[in-house]
């Protein structure tokens, strides 16, 4: 594990054509890292995330992605992700291939990856189409003991998983507090793990059973206060629900979206620049 400026971490470890998972379920979404990927103009990425959320709407709209693996692609509580829809419905700015799962399937796929297994199991459920949706590639298996139908999901093993977390200690261990989603599994499944954190502390204030990623499973870490904004970091700042609502209008048409991205992401130096441009940080 090495501590690097975020721009350097992305420059070193994220390459065109990779499969990358920016995880964090609603909570701790690594927006700063995603924006840096946009600034560095990565292309042909296979983006993996249970809930693409605004960050993948932005990556997709900026033309970084060629495939999306996901399980729920909306703006939570608000409506559509317009850039995702534009890519799927009208191939703008480029076609986007989809690998679509349910949350439960994708959780099992990450778990399988984290466990070194080529696939994971779910009980087979008849009568729903996702099993047969193009790209989802589930297979039916049979329990060798009971004969019961099971559904197998192929493991997800991202080239790079990127997480945001609260704290890193002097030894490089990282504390995650609050809603986890499948972040831990996505990290353990990946070939490389990048982490952005709110702050560096001498020692983690971690309870015995706290969620800590040991330094030696992490490839590189960057200190990025506010790095999950407009998502949130439990104990640091809340989710900016007003921004999530506002995004619906910002992203609705291509020109407005591009102008916003130019002004707040591409045209600023780093995440602090975005936070200042939005008036979120002084």
């Amino acid at each position: 594990m090495e501590v690097l400026p975020l721009a350097e971490a992305i420059a070193t470890h994220v390459c065109d054509g990779q499969s990358i998972a920016l995880e964090g379920f609603t909570h701790l979404i690594p927006f700063a890292a995603g924006h840096e990927i946009i600034r560095q103009q990565r292309r042909n990425l296979h983006l993996i995330r249970m809930t693409p959320d605004l960050i993948y709407d932005q990556l997709i709209g900026m033309g970084c992605a060629e495939r999306l693996t996901f399980s729920w692609g909306g703006n939570p509580g608000v409506g559509s992700l317009h850039r995702l829809r534009d890519a799927v419905e009208r191939q703008w700015p480029r076609p986007l291939a989809l690998s679509e799962f349910t949350h439960a399937q994708m959780a099992v796929a990450y778990q399988a990856g984290a466990s070194g297994l080529p696939c994971g199991l779910l009980r087979h459920y008849a009568g729903t189409d996702p099993l047969h949706a193009p790209g989802a590639s589930l297979r039916t298996m049979h329990c060798p003991f009971t004969g019961a139908d099971l559904a197998a999901v192929p493991a997800i093993t991202p080239d790079v998983t990127i997480l945001h977390a609260q704290q890193i200690d002097a030894d490089g261990n990282v504390l995650i507090r609050g809603i986890l989603g499948a972040a831990r599994e996505a990290a353990m499944a990946a070939r490389r793990v990048l982490v952005t954190v709110e702050e560096r502390v001498e020692a983690l204030p971690a309870e015995m059973n706290a969620i800590v990623l040991p330094s030696w499973v992490i490839t590189a870490a960057s200190i990025v206060p506010g790095g999950a904004y407009p998502s949130y970091a439990q104990g640091y700042y809340p989710r900016d629900n007003a921004f999530y609502r506002a995004w619906d209008e910002i992203a609705r048409d291509r020109e407005g979206f591009l102008a916003w991205m130019q002004r707040h992401v591409v045209g600023v130096r780093d995440h602090a620049g975005l936070l200042r441009a939005l008036g979120v940080a002084a």
């Binding site: 439960a104 729903t128 700042y237 979120v280």
Partner: protein, 263 residues
């Protein structure tokens, strides 16, 4: 008749909330289901156990979450578990009494579409997709659906079957091996539909005050059957309305609060 002192949304939410018995373990979808579940918890069902797919178990939010994973849910939960765990140990394991869902389309057998309008490969509208719905509809002992009713949403044929209701009806769901019981009620902005005991076809069982059967039929994309006994849903009680409006007011204020980050 004077216009009622509540909105269609409000009676729909109140009616949905009333379906929940105290002590039930409920897997909550976002939006109207979340409002209904929390209204129930704040009124007649204080021991309702609410689980959101973000892994927040037994959560008791004071304001409604906008997303399925707002910090409020974590702060007020009995415990937090990972997402793989909530789906495996709670839902797939069969520990959920009631699943609460919305969707873009529903058919007469309670099957749901939240994936695409049009063909999957070339959709006219790409919807958010499955999320937790297919497993909720498969494993919850009972499913409640809340949806506004219109010919575009209550359709004779789904564009995509994201989540199973009673499949083609009759005993087909049970024969398919789905362990959960399927949708027991669909609460709309007109009234309540429930599956016929034999055919499992949704039929109108209750109407809101002032709503006509003809109006419901006009809002349904298939020839809607009406139950032998058609009940009238009591109008929202003042206490229910007050609690719901307070909840929404608190929520609006909380969601508008500016975020400040110290760099």
């Amino acid at each position: 008749m004077s216009s009622p002192d509540y909105s269609r949304d409000e009676i729909m939410t109140v009616t949905a909330a009333r379906q929940l018995r105290n002590g039930a373990v409920c897997f909550v979808g976002i939006g109207l289901p979340s409002a209904a579940c929390n209204l129930a918890r704040m009124t007649h069902a204080p021991d309702l156990v609410l689980i959101y797919e973000s892994g927040t178990v037994g959560t008791r939010p004071v304001v409604l979450p906008l997303s399925i994973g707002d910090g409020e849910l974590a702060e007020t939960a009995t415990c937090l578990v990972s997402l793989p765990e909530i789906f495996a140990h709670y839902l797939q394991r069969g520990r959920i009494d009631v699943g609460f869902l919305g969707a873009a389309q529903i058919d007469r057998f309670g099957n749901l579409n939240s994936t695409v309008i049009g063909a999957y490969a070339h959709p006219s509208v790409r919807l958010p997709g499955a999320g937790g719905a297919p497993e909720i509809s498969t494993y919850a002992r009972e499913v409640l659906v809340v949806m506004k009713q219109s010919p575009r949403s209550f359709v004779s044929r789904l564009d995509f079957r994201t989540s199973c209701g009673y499949l083609a009806g009759g005993g087909e769901r049970r024969a398919s091996g789905c362990p959960g019981g399927g949708p027991s009620a669909v609460i709309t902005d007109f009234g309540v539909l429930r599956p016929h005991p034999e055919s499992k076809q949704l039929q109108l069982t209750a109407l809101y005050p002032g709503v006509s059967v003809a109006a419901v039929r006009a809002a349904t994309g298939w020839p809607l059957q009406v139950a032998d006994t058609l009940e009238s849903v009591p109008a929202p009680e003042p206490a229910e309305l007050a609690t719901l409006r307070d909840l929404h007011a608190r929520t609006r204020i909380a969601h508008a609060r500016p975020v400040h980050i110290n760099l």
